[in-house]
C-alpha cells in the first residue's frame, strides 16, 4: 500500500514537472516584451479637442494604432491579418476611425478613444481595382453621413453610423480604372482612365447613386503615373514621355485639358519627372533628379513655378489652419541637417516655420512627413511634424527637437542571430565594490525579510523593484551562465540592430549602406544574417562578426550584396558586391585560423563561391573537398537534387575561389499527385548528448543522428491551397525523410485526407510536424523518430567494458545503415504559426516544443507528449520511465504558455539559443512585437533559483559556527571542572 502511495506521489511529481509556469511576481524578471507597429503608411492627427492628443496610424504591418502625441506610446492597437492590407484610413463623424482593408473589401469603424470596433461591413466584388476611401464632409443622405468607397470595381456609399451600404454603383463592366472621387454638393463625380489616354467622368446622385451624366475625352497622348488632384476639379498628370504636364479640368462633368512642357517651367533641370503624391490645394510637387519643384496651378489653368528645392526629401499633405489658409511642410537636406519648412500655400514668401533638426545618421532619409498644427498661447500657429524615416522609425519633431522616436523597424524582423558579449575586463575600483557589497547585503536582507514573511508592503515593493531592475542582467559583459548575449536582428529596412537579452535595449544599430536604395541597387532586400566569426579559442582578442547577405531586387538574378559587421561595435567592417548572384548560402562546418567560418555561396548559374577569399580557406576546403555536398529543392517542379563539388570553374576569368559541381542524384516527385509544400532540416549547431535511447527493459535503441537529413512534406496539388477547398478524398499528405548526401529515402508515409499548411521541426533523430486532418476536421501533430538498426546488435556488455566497439568511429551516409522509423499522431487544438524546439548547451536537458499559436502566444509542450512509445495502458515500468498514457489529443496546459499574459502580435518566428547553463534555453520570439525569455524545460536543476536567499544561508552558517564555538567553550569548562573535582 505504502508503495502504491509512493508511486502515486511520484507520478504526481512527474506531472507537475511537465508544466513550466511562472509566479505573478516573476513576470518581467527574465522576460521582456516590446510593442511595435511597423512602418507608417497613413497618419491622421486627432487634436481638435482638448485632452489627449493622438495620432492615428496605419502601417505596412497591417496595424491600426492610436499613438500618444506626447510620448509616442500606443493607446490602442489592432493587428489585422497578414492578408488584410490597409488601403485607407480616415476619421469619420469625429469619433470613428475608418479603415479600408483587404483590397477594399472590408470597411471597419473603430471607436476613437478606446479602439473598439464599432461596425464592419464587407464590400464584395469580383474585379480587382484600386481602392479609394473618401469621407466627404457634410455629405448626407437621409441624415446619414456618407462614406464613399471605391473598391472591386464598384462605388459604395456606406452609412457612417452603422456601416450599412446605402447604395452601390457597379463600374465593373465599364473597364474604367477609377482614380478619383470628387464630391460637389449633391453630385458625386467619379473620374478615371480607360487605357492610358481616355478619361471618363461619371456624375452620380449622392443620395441614391443614380447615374446623372457621363462624359469622356481623349487626351492627346498616354499618361504616366497617377492622376493627382490639385483642387476640387483640377487634376494634373504626366504624359507618357514624362516631359509634359497635362492639366485636366472637370467642371460640372465637362472635361477640358491643356498641357505644358516641363522645360518651359525650368530650363536647367532635365531628367525623369515624377509627380509626388502630396495633396496641396492649388499646387503640386514634381520630383526631377534630386530637385523638388513646387508648381502652382492658377485659376486660369496656368502653371507657375514657385520654388525649386535641391535635395528635397518629402512634402506633406496640406493642412487647413484656418478659413482659406492652408499650410504644408517640406523637408530638404543640407549641411548634415534636415531643414523643415512649413509654408502657407497662398503666401509663398512667408515661412510659417523654419527649423533645422539634427537626426541620427543611422535613420537614413525621410520617407514621409505628416504635419499637424496647434495654437500657441499667443494665438500663433505652431507645427509638429511626424516623420517616417528610411529605417521605418517614426519621429515626432516639434520646435526643432525630436520629441520622441519609435524604432518601428523592429516590427519587421527578417532574420536573427546571436553573439556573445565581451569578456569582463579586470580592474574594478574598490569604492564601487564596497558600494556594491553594501547594496548586495541590503538587497539580501530585504529578501530575507521577505522569506521570513516579516517584510512590510513597502519592503515587498522594494524587493520587487530590486528584482526587476537588477543591473546584473543588463551588463555589457559576458556572464558565467551565458544568459547575457546580443541578439543581432536584420530588419526589412536593411537595418541591423543588436538587442541586449537582459532588457531588450538597442545596443547598436546600423543602416547598412549597401542595403540602401541607390542607382545600382533599386530594391535592396536583406535576406539572411549568418555568424561569420565566433572567436573563442585562439582568436579571443578579435571581435565576433556577422555576415549579412542581401540582394538588389526580388528576383534570383539580382546582384548580391555581402556585408560584414562587427558584433560589438556595430561598424561595417567591409561590404562586397560580388559579380555572382546568391541563390543559396551554405555555412560549412569548418573555420580558419581566425575562426572565420567558411561559407559557400551558390549562384543561379550552378557555381559555388568560397568565402572568405583567402588561400587558407582554399586549403581547408581542398582538404574536405570530397566530403562537401549540397542539395537544392525545386518546389515548382517537385525535384530535389544532390550535388557535389567537382573542380574549379571553367570560365574566361580565372577564379580559384569558384567551383563547379556535378549532379549526384535527384528525387523527382510525381507532379500529378505531389507538390512540395514544406521542407525542414536540423539546426546545424544543434548539440546531441547521446546516440542511445534506453527503453524500459534496459534495452537500447540507437538513434539515427545525422545532420544530413531533410524532411519534405508534399501535398496533393489540388489540396495545396486553403483548408476547405477540397474534399478529404482529394487530399493527402506525403512525408519523406531523405538523406541529402546520397538521396536515399529513409522513410515515407502518407496521411490520407490531410492537407497543409505543414509546420515542422527537426531535432536529433525526430521530426514533429503539424497539419490539418480534413476527415476529423481538426489539426494534427505527428512525430517520427528514426532509429539505426545496424547498430542494434551492439548488445554485449563486455565489449563496452573493454572498449571494443565502434559506435563512436566516424560514419558515412554511404554505409547505408538500416533504419526503422516509429511514429504516432495526435490531435492538436490550435492552428500554428511556427514551431521550434528548445536547444541547450550540451543537449542533456529534455526538450520542449515551442509552438507559436494562432493567438500569437507561445506554448511550451514537452517532447514527452510526442513520443511514439506512448500506449493507452503503459506498464508500471514504462510509467516510471516517464511515459504518459496515450490520449487522442495533446493537452494544452494554460500555465505552459511561456508568453504568459502577453501576445506577440503578428508572430512570425521563434529562435532558441542555448545558454551556457545546461538547463536553460533562451527564446526570442519575433513578429510585430518582440518577446524574449529564458526557459528551463527540466527546471533549473543546475543552479539555485533566482529568489534563493543567500542571506539566510549565510546567517545559518554563522549561527552554526557560533553554536559550535559556544558549545566547545562550554565543554572545555565542564571538563576543567570535572578535573578539579
Amino acid at each position: 500500500m505504502a508503495i502504491r502511495v509512493f508511486h502515486f506521489i511520484l507520478l504526481f511529481l512527474s506531472f507537475t514537472n511537465l508544466t513550466y509556469s511562472l509566479y505573478e511576481d516573476q513576470v518581467g524578471l527574465m522576460d521582456w516584451h516590446q510593442k511595435y507597429i511597423g512602418k507608417v503608411k497613413h497618419a491622421v492627427f486627432h487634436t481638435q479637442k482638448t485632452g489627449r492628443k493622438r495620432v492615428l496610424v496605419s502601417t505596412e504591418e497591417n496595424v491600426v494604432a492610436s499613438l500618444d502625441l506626447r510620448h509616442g506610446e500606443i493607446f490602442w492597437r489592432h493587428v489585422l491579418g497578414t492578408n488584410d492590407v490597409i488601403d485607407g484610413l480616415d476619421i469619420a463623424l469625429g469619433k470613428y476611425v475608418i479603415t479600408l482593408s483587404s483590397d477594399g473589401s472590408i470597411l471597419r469603424a473603430w471607436n476613437l478613444p478606446d479602439g473598439q470596433m464599432v461596425w464592419e461591413s464587407s464590400l464584395p466584388g469580383s474585379k480587382a481595382s484600386k481602392s479609394i476611401l473618401n469621407i466627404p464632409k457634410n455629405l448626407k443622405a437621409d441624415k446619414d453621413d456618407l462614406i464613399l468607397v471605391y473598391s472591386k470595381g464598384s462605388l459604395n456609399a456606406v452609412s457612417g453610423v452603422d456601416g450599412e451600404v446605402l447604395w452601390k454603383k457597379d463600374f465593373a463592366d465599364e473597364s474604367i480604372e477609377v482614380s478619383h472621387i470628387i464630391q460637389s454638393s449633391d453630385v458625386i463625380y467619379v473620374a478615371g482612365f480607360v487605357g492610358s489616354s481616355k478619361i471618363h467622368v461619371y456624375g452620380l446622385n449622392a443620395k441614391s447613386g443614380e447615374l446623372l451624366d457621363k462624359n469622356h475625352a481623349a487626351l492627346p497622348s498616354g499618361t504616366f503615373g497617377e492622376l493627382l488632384s490639385v483642387s476640387g476639379d483640377t487634376f494634373v498628370v504626366l504624359d507618357e514621355m514624362r516631359s509634359k504636364i497635362v492639366i485636366i479640368h472637370l467642371k460640372n462633368g465637362e472635361i477640358s485639358y491643356n498641357q505644358k512642357h516641363i522645360s518651359d517651367l525650368t530650363e536647367d533641370i532635365a531628367g525623369q519627372a515624377v509627380i509626388l503624391p502630396s495633396r496641396l490645394p492649388g499646387m503640386f510637387a514634381l520630383n526631377i533628379n534630386s530637385y523638388v519643384l513646387l508648381i502652382k496651378v492658377t485659376n486660369q489653368g496656368e502653371l507657375v513655378l514657385v520654388d525649386k528645392v535641391n535635395n528635397g526629401a518629402a512634402v506633406s499633405d496640406s493642412l487647413s489652419i484656418s478659413e482659406d489658409e492652408h499650410a504644408f511642410a517640406f523637408v530638404h537636406y543640407g549641411d548634415n541637417k534636415i531643414h523643415l519648412s512649413v509654408k502657407n500655400v497662398n503666401d509663398w514668401n512667408h515661412d510659417l516655420l523654419k527649423e533645422s533638426i539634427v537626426i541620427e545618421h543611422q535613420r537614413g532619409k525621410i520617407d514621409k512627413i505628416f504635419v499637424n498644427n496647434y495654437v500657441r498661447t499667443d494665438r500663433s500657429h505652431g507645427f509638429r511634424a511626424l516623420m517616417v524615416m528610411e529605417d521605418h522609425s517614426l519621429l515626432l519633431v516639434q520646435q526643432g527637437e525630436i520629441v520622441w522616436s519609435r524604432e518601428d523597424g523592429l516590427a519587421s524582423v527578417v532574420d536573427v542571430t546571436t553573439s556573445e558579449l565581451p569578456v569582463q575586463k579586470e580592474g574594478v575600483s574598490v569604492a564601487k565594490v564596497e558600494q556594491n557589497l553594501f547594496e548586495w547585503l541590503k538587497g539580501h536582507m530585504l529578501k530575507l525579510k521577505g522569506t521570513l514573511m516579516i517584510a512590510s508592503p513597502d519592503d515587498l515593493a522594494a524587493i520587487q523593484a530590486l528584482r526587476l531592475r537588477s543591473s546584473e542582467k543588463s551588463k555589457m559583459t559576458r556572464d558565467h551562465n551565458g544568459f547575457r548575449k546580443l541578439l543581432i536582428v536584420l530588419t526589412r529596412a536593411g537595418k541591423v540592430f543588436a538587442l541586449h537579452t537582459g532588457d531588450g535595449r538597442v545596443v547598436w544599430s546600423i543602416l547598412l549602406p549597401s542595403l540602401r536604395k541607390s542607382e545600382a541597387c533599386e530594391n535592396p532586400v536583406g535576406l539572411h544574417i549568418y555568424q561569420w566569426q565566433v572567436p573563442h579559442h585562439h582568436a579571443l582578442d578579435e571581435n565576433p562578426s556577422v555576415l549579412v547577405v542581401g540582394r538588389c531586387g526580388p528576383s534570383l538574378s539580382a546582384p548580391t550584396v555581402l556585408s560584414f559587421i562587427d558584433a560589438y561595435t556595430g561598424m561595417e567592417l567591409k561590404s562586397l558586391s560580388p559579380a555572382h548572384t546568391a541563390a543559396q548560402v551554405i555555412p560549412l562546418p569548418h573555420t580558419d585560423s581566425t575562426e572565420q567560418r567558411l561559407h559557400l555561396i551558390i549562384d543561379d548559374n550552378q557555381h559555388a563561391y568560397l568565402y572568405p577569399r583567402t588561400p587558407e580557406a582554399i586549403d581547408i576546403l581542398k582538404h574536405e573537398f570530397s566530403n562537401v555536398y549540397w542539395y537544392s529543392v525545386d518546389a515548382d517542379n517537385g525535384v530535389i537534387r544532390g550535388h557535389a563539388l567537382k573542380s574549379n570553374c571553367v570560365q574566361e576569368a580565372v577564379d580559384e575561389y569558384c567551383f563547379d559541381f556535378r549532379d549526384l542524384w535527384s528525387v523527382v516527385f510525381p507532379s500529378e499527385s505531389e507538390k512540395i509544400i514544406a521542407t525542414m532540416t536540423r539546426k546545424p549547431n544543434e548539440v546531441v548528448h547521446t546516440q542511445a535511447k534506453v527503453m524500459t527493459d534496459y534495452d537500447v535503441m540507437y538513434k539515427y543522428i545525422s545532420k544530413n537529413l531533410l524532411f519534405v512534406a508534399n501535398a496533393a496539388p489540388k489540396a495545396a491551397g486553403e483548408i476547405g477547398t477540397v474534399i478529404p478524398e482529394e487530399a493527402w499528405l506525403v512525408i519523406y525523410i531523405l538523406d541529402t548526401v546520397t538521396g536515399r529515402i529513409l522513410h515515407r508515409m502518407t496521411h490520407n485526407g490531410c492537407q497543409g499548411p505543414v509546420h515542422a521541426v527537426f531535432s536529433e533523430n525526430w521530426v514533429v510536424y503539424h497539419y490539418f486532418n480534413l476527415r476529423a476536421h481538426r489539426y494534427e501533430m505527428s512525430v517520427v523518430e528514426i532509429y539505426d538498426q545496424s547498430r542494434a546488435d551492439n548488445k554485449d556488455v563486455w565489449r563496452f567494458v573493454l572498449g571494443k566497439h565502434n559506435l563512436t568511429s566516424p560514419i558515412s551516409s554511404y554505409s547505408r545503415p538500416e533504419v526503422i522509423a516509429k511514429s504516432q499522431s495526435y490531435f492538436f487544438t490550435h492552428s500554428v504559426k511556427a514551431i521550434e524546439v528548445t536547444s541547450t548547451a550540451k543537449g542533456i536537458t529534455s526538450k520542449q516544443l515551442l509552438i507559436g499559436t494562432i493567438g500569437d502566444q507561445v506554448l511550451a509542450l514537452d517532447k514527452r507528449f510526442l513520443d511514439p512509445r506512448r500506449t493507452v495502458n503503459p506498464s508500471q515500468a514504462e510509467k516510471e520511465d516517464g511515459i504518459i498514457p496515450l490520449t487522442d489529443s495533446l493537452p494544452i496546459i494554460p500555465q505552459s504558455y511561456i508568453t504568459h499574459a502577453l501576445k506577440v502580435e503578428g508572430l512570425r518566428g521563434i529562435v532558441t539559443v542555448p545558454a551556457k547553463l545546461e538547463s536553460t534555453s533562451l527564446v526570442f520570439v519575433y513578429g510585430v512585437d518582440l518577446f524574449f525569455t529564458q526557459i528551463a524545460p527540466s527546471r533549473t536543476y543546475d543552479s539555485l533559483t533566482e529568489d534563493f536567499s543567500y542571506a539566510l544561508l549565510l546567517l545559518t552558517i554563522v549561527a552554526l559556527v557560533a553554536a559550535i564555538f559556544v558549545t566547545w567553550v562550554l565543554s572545555e569548562r565542564k571538563d576543567l571542572q570535572d578535573k578539579w573535582r
Binding site: 508503495i3 509512493f6 508511486h7 511520484l10 535576406l527 539572411h528 547577405v549 540582394r551 526580388p554 534570383l556 546568391a582 541563390a583 543559396q584 548560402v585 551554405i586 555555412p587 560549412l588 562546418p589 566530403n627 562537401v628 555536398y629 549540397w630 542539395y631 537544392s632 529543392v633 518546389a635 544532390g642 521542407t679 532540416t681 546545424p684 546531441v688 548528448h689 547521446t690 546516440q691 542511445a692 534506453v694 534496459y698 534495452d699 537500447v700 540507437y702 538513434k703 543522428i705 545532420k707 544530413n708 531533410l710 541529402t740 548526401v741 551492439n794 548488445k795 554485449d796 556488455v797 563496452f800 567494458v801 559506435l807 563512436t808 568511429s809 566516424p810 560514419i811 558515412s812 551516409s813
Partner: protein, 181 residues
C-alpha cells in the same frame, strides 16, 4: 556484529577489578601484598585449580567466538526482510537500505581481526569461527549486490555503457535547401 563489539576490550575504562588475576610478578601490582602473605605458595597450591579455570575460560572463549561468528546470520535475515520491504523502485529508502546492506559486511570484513581479538588464545581455534563469519558477511554482501542489481544500479546492461557515448561523427557534410527569397 554488535555483540562482537560488546565484548571488545575498551581502553578508556577508568577502573577495573580483575577477579581472574593470575599475574605472578609482584612488580606488576600497585598494591603491596599484605604482611604474612606469600604469593608463591598460593600459586603453587592453585596451579591445578588455575589450569581448570583456564580450560573453562578457553572453552568459554571458543563458544563466544562461535556466537560472534554466527551473529551476521541474524543480520542477514533482518536485511533480507528490510530489502523485501523496500521494494524494487529506486528511492531514498531502498537506496539507504541497499547501501547499508553493502556497507555493514564490508566494514565487518575489514575488522575481522579486531572482532576476534578478545577470544585470541593459544588454545582456542579461531579459524573456524572466522571463516564462518567471513562467509556469512560475504553472503550479506552478495545480498546487497543482488539488491543493487535488482534496483538497476549496476552497469550490467548495454544501456549503462552506451548512454554516455557521444554520437558518431559524420564524414560528409551537406547543406542547401530552397533558394533564398
Amino acid at each position: 556484529m554488535d555483540k562482537g563489539k560488546g565484548v571488545m576490550p575498551s581502553n578508556t575504562r577508568r577502573w577495573a577489578v580483575d577477579f581472574s588475576d593470575n599475574s605472578t610478578s609482584p612488580s606488576s601490582r600497585d598494591v603491596p601484598d599484605p604482611p604474612g602473605f606469600s604469593r608463591a605458595s598460593i600459586d603453587q597450591d592453585d596451579s591445578t585449580l588455575s589450569r581448570q579455570k583456564r580450560d573453562a575460560e578457553s572453552n568459554w572463549k571458543a563458544q563466544k567466538a562461535w556466537e560472534v561468528a554466527q551473529a551476521p546470520f541474524k543480520n542477514l535475515l533482518m536485511m533480507g526482510f528490510m530489502m523485501w520491504m523496500a521494494g524494487s523502485t529506486v528511492h531514498l529508502f531502498s537506496i539507504g537500505i541497499t547501501f547499508s546492506a553493502l556497507w555493514q559486511p564490508i566494514s565487518a570484513l575489514q575488522s575481522v581481526g579486531k572482532i576476534f581479538e578478545p577470544y585470541k588464545d593459544s588454545r582456542v581455534e579461531l579459524l573456524g569461527p572466522k571463516l564462518l563469519f567471513i562467509a556469512l558477511n560475504l553472503g550479506g554482501l552478495a545480498l546487497g549486490v543482488w539488491k543493487l542489481n535488482a534496483l538497476g544500479l549496476l552497469p550490467t546492461h548495454t544501456s549503462d555503457w552506451v548512454s554516455s557515448l557521444p554520437p558518431a561523427q559524420e564524414v560528409e557534410y551537406s547543406g542547401g535547401g530552397l533558394n533564398l527569397s
